[in-house]
Subunit: 122 residues, 2 copies
Amino acid sequence: MPSPSPASRRKTGGCPTGCSVEDTLSLIDGKWKIVILYKLLRGTLRFNEIRRQIPAVTQRMLTNQLRELEADGLVIRTVYPEVPPRVEYSLSAKGRSLEPVLLALKAWGDANFGAQAQARAA
Amino acid sequence: MPSPSPASRRKTGGCPTGCSVEDTLSLIDGKWKIVILYKLLRGTLRFNEIRRQIPAVTQRMLTNQLRELEADGLVIRTVYPEVPPRVEYSLSAKGRSLEPVLLALKAWGDANFGAQAQARAA
DNA sequence: GCACATAGTATCGAAAAGGATACTGTCAGG
DNA sequence: CCTGACAGTATCCTTTTCGATACTATGTGC
């Protein structure tokens, strides 16, 4: 089964011309998804760790985007039932397969936005 | 100067952690930009040719997105002062340099949305 | 008892994005 | 004369997105 339950908030509609591109875009739209995926590329992170890495995102948005990413099968959410609650997020195989896209994006950004971005690159 | 006038509708804000990725995203957000760029990858197109290739986009949106792409230096708009007006859109060098990103996106989409999209691929 | 940390929810409201529809002006075809 | 194609504008309205703020529950440290 290629697309089990896309959880797509944006309907793709008819999609008359070949547009797996559009389908893909519907999974990674939202202002933060790609950044989150990119951060997760280097390893599992906890909720507040992500928050600290992306200070501009609000708690609501982060929860939101993470839930959508989870629903789309791109990230895995693991809850440890401890008492200071602990939740870890990591990429699924599907999420990890986006790596070429993420890296291409990063490479283009570095090439087109100069060195100041490169210098800061975490 | 690496980024002359990004025409960015979305402010990037401080961008404290390395995020040329975010900068890049601000250029290609909007529901249609990537699809437009993708279509343009195979050559120059006129306004209504693009419309026909992406039937779901409205005239207003198409104008809009094309203008933003032009402002960001990704596409070139050439007006021929003829009397059935003729306007051609093509990728700039900068736009063309996005090719790896677009192809990575397409490849991922094809791999993750099954064969029906591949079959239709223009 | 109070504050802090964790990982969130809930609610409100502003702003932006996107869609529908109608209109422009000129020329060619019938 | 009427219609259609071209490449848009202009206007209005709905939907979606995003942000701010306040709140939950639990345990630890002071």
